[in-house]
Symmetry: C2
Amino acid sequence: MTKRPNEATTCAWISLMRTQRLALSRVEARLKEAKLPPLSWYDVLWELEKAGDQGLRPYELEKALLFAQYNLSRLAERLAAAGLIDRHECSHDRRGQVLKITARGRALRRDTWAVYAQAIEDAVGARLSTEEAETLAVLLKKLQ
Amino acid sequence: MTKRPNEATTCAWISLMRTQRLALSRVEARLKEAKLPPLSWYDVLWELEKAGDQGLRPYELEKALLFAQYNLSRLAERLAAAGLIDRHECSHDRRGQVLKITARGRALRRDTWAVYAQAIEDAVGARLSTEEAETLAVLLKKLQ
DNA sequence: GGCATATCAATGCAGTTGCATCTATATGAT
DNA sequence: ATCATATAGATGCAACTGCATTGATATGCC
């Protein structure tokens, strides 16, 4: 069945696209200003830090972060080149590898978070009450 | 003053980033499936169609669509090459130009909307009540 | 085991984006 | 009018992304 979006739906769609772009560009600008790497680096480092010693497989990161396979492959290459992660052989699947964060990676993640947290607070926290933020998150999750 | 984002704020931030990516990729996939150009083309064509006969200056489009100047410059080049817009000299500002949609451009915009509208309905309309969509739009606009 | 199929990750190539800069013209101050 | 500054838009180059494909291994079926 085909059904046209109503006014509210279209308006929500447009707001979603615009707001995300605006908010993201503000936050990315802060990171750049602080000479920190882009958010995608943070996202990978944080996932790996949470994963701890056992690390994560690239395909697990792909799913967790919604990255395209080839993008993650290249991002991992850059992170490894920068000494922020290590790529280990995977013992029980010789096609694969295991990514683990290094001490340098943890340090950079921590430094990035200092700036990132403030930027999130400015972009979101300062503009919504706690209750509004909760409502927003709930509504957004319905779209996922 | 520095203040850390609270749980709700962080959660809203993450949902905003993830949900937009997911929703956008679903919609773009539909367009691609239908062999239609990407959303950025639609956005420009629609702005120009709304602007009517007098067209719009590139810098006006930049502001309306939050495009970087160089991106719009190149996008306009591609749209013009595809015969979807015309670039006219600007009578009262010889640095500038005026962009106007062509008949082909209008036709493509219309065809794109048929698919786009359905995709928005599936990505948003089908997942939220009208009231929820309105609330979502209001909350998102507070972040702009 | 042997083969067909699926999954993991890398990569060549083309297209796009970001950054910095450039040219041309407009605007404002004197 | 002259000059300094600001704005409109284009562009060279490097980085990144998307697409399609590849190589390597794993898994399921007979």
